[in-house]
């Protein structure tokens, strides 16, 4: 009988070589999803690859034009990061919504995205930031728009010999702010029923919406980048935002279902509330009361 083995390397290239050579390697990082799913039958996996020590995947780095988040960054590390708290507070808000402190200290950005739940809390704010992901294999790396990474519930666009290595986004401009609003059945340890991120950029006078990106989770098979809703709000004066029209556009763009956490009807209703709430908070952060 073949014996079970765990592989753990500090080097990315060593790890990528290993997962290319192994038959059916199972990747574990923080383990907060993997062990819930597989904890009772780990003995079935002959090859476990613990990627938690890979140094290239760690850390948050603020570069001249972009912010790079290593795939092993934990939710707590995101929440604690001073640059993100100052310039991308809504990403921090999303990280704080995940699980509970014990989960946040272990669960990773990479795991949240690769598990590809449509409810993944980190997806909407990152998509709204226009983030790109980087995946690497022993043959090389590729980058992609984050919203294209999600193929369906539980299915990410990642080959079995690849690892998601990092996510990066352009540094938020002046006069921009975001908000992430999550609806859940509890205020902690809750999978989101609806999770919406808004990222707004205003003009110099703070009178018009110069740019806006909206992304929503748990209302479709994948986290969505909202295009029609964006079109309604783009260029509008903040003093007279067409909220009714925006809400109508939103309900047309999303396709929620009934599931154990809520009904389609509830999600259609509460998404509209959350849109207004998130917009209000983002604008308030820019000093604008609507």
């Amino acid at each position: 009988m073949e014996e079970n083995r765990v592989y753990s390397y500090r080097s990315l290239s060593e790890t990528l070589k290993t997962i290319k050579e192994l038959e059916d390697p199972k990747i574990i990082a923080g383990g907060t999803d993997f062990l819930v799913r597989h904890g009772e039958h780990l003995w079935k996996f002959p090859h476990l690859v613990d990627i938690g020590a890979i140094k290239e995947l760690k850390g948050i780095s603020v570069e001249e034009d972009k912010v790079v988040l290593g795939a092993l960054v934990t939710h707590q590390e995101l929440a604690d990061n001073p640059y993100l708290r100052e310039h991308a507070l809504f990403l921090v808000e999303a990280a704080r919504e995940v699980g509970a402190p014990q989960i946040r200290n272990r669960g990773t950005l990479g795991g949240n995205l690769v598990n590809a739940s449509p409810a993944a809390d980190l997806a909407p704010p990152l998509i709204a930031l226009g983030a790109r992901g980087v995946a690497c294999s022993a043959s090389g790396c590729r980058s992609f728009l984050l919203q294209d990474f999600f193929l369906g519930p539980g299915k990410a666009d990642l080959r079995s010999d690849e690892l998601l290595c990092s996510v990066y986004f352009a540094k938020p401009k002046k006069n921009s702010a975001g908000s992430y609003v999550k609806i859940g059945q509890r205020r902690a340890l809750a999978i989101s029923v609806v999770g919406l991120a808004v990222f707004v950029t205003l003009d110099e006078e703070k009178k018009k919406i110069l740019d806006i990106e909206l992304s929503i989770g748990s209302v479709a098979p994948r986290p969505l980048l909202l295009k029609e809703t964006r079109a309604v709000l783009l260029g509008q004066a903040v003093s007279s935002l067409p909220l009714t029209e925006a809400k109508r556009a939103l309900t047309k763009e999303i396709s929620p279902i009934d599931d154990i956490r809520g009904t389609r009807e509830y999600r259609l209703l509460v998404s509209q509330v959350v849109l207004e709430r998130a917009l209000g908070t983002a604008l308030l952060r820019l000093g604008v009361q609507v």
Binding site: N4, G31, T32, L48
Partner: protein
């Protein structure tokens, strides 16, 4: 295939042979007989298995033993000692925070993690700090009171 790990638990170093699928929780309870850390759900939702791993509160049921090689772990047995309880433990008793006691080791470890990282928490911050720990008996109020009192008491954390 057994893997050798070296781990510091409650300030003592151990070298153990573990199976790839052993959880930290299993090793603490079965190898080291540290029974204060409990298994309530086995899936990171109840917090009765909360320990500090390299100073951070984690669910021991969701950490593989092989992942703690070279790390340090503190369990409830490492809080306070045989001679004297820690200020947190004293206040849990003083404020009536303990009923059946099952959630308490986890609550205390989450409280210690809070006070180690935030010496002056608000009531809301305490609630967030224990949001990963379920209690079926107390309704949480006195647990929160005890933690706040410990913070305000200015006593050394834990």
């Amino acid at each position: 295939m057994r893997v050798a790990i070296t781990v510091n638990v409650n300030e003592k170093s151990y070298t153990l042979d573990v199976m790839p699928h052993d959880r930290l929780l299993d090793v603490l309870r079965n190898e080291l007989q540290l029974l204060g850390t409990k298994e309530g759900c086995g899936k990171g939702e109840c917090g009765t298995c909360t320990v500090l791993l390299d100073g951070k509160a984690v669910n021991a049921c969701l950490v593989l033993a092989v992942q703690v090689n070279g790390s340090s772990v503190m369990t409830i047995e490492g809080l306070g000692g045989e001679e004297a309880l820690s200020p947190l433990q004293e206040n849990f008793i003083r404020y009536g925070a303990v009923q059946c006691g099952y959630c308490i080791p986890g609550m205390l470890m989450s409280a210690k993690y809070l006070l180690d990282t935030n010496q002056n928490p608000t009531r809301e911050e305490v609630r967030v700090a224990i949001s990963g720990n379920l209690c079926r008996c107390t309704g949480y109020t006195k647990i929160i009171d005890a933690i706040l009192a410990t913070a305000k008491g200015g006593l050394e954390c834990g």
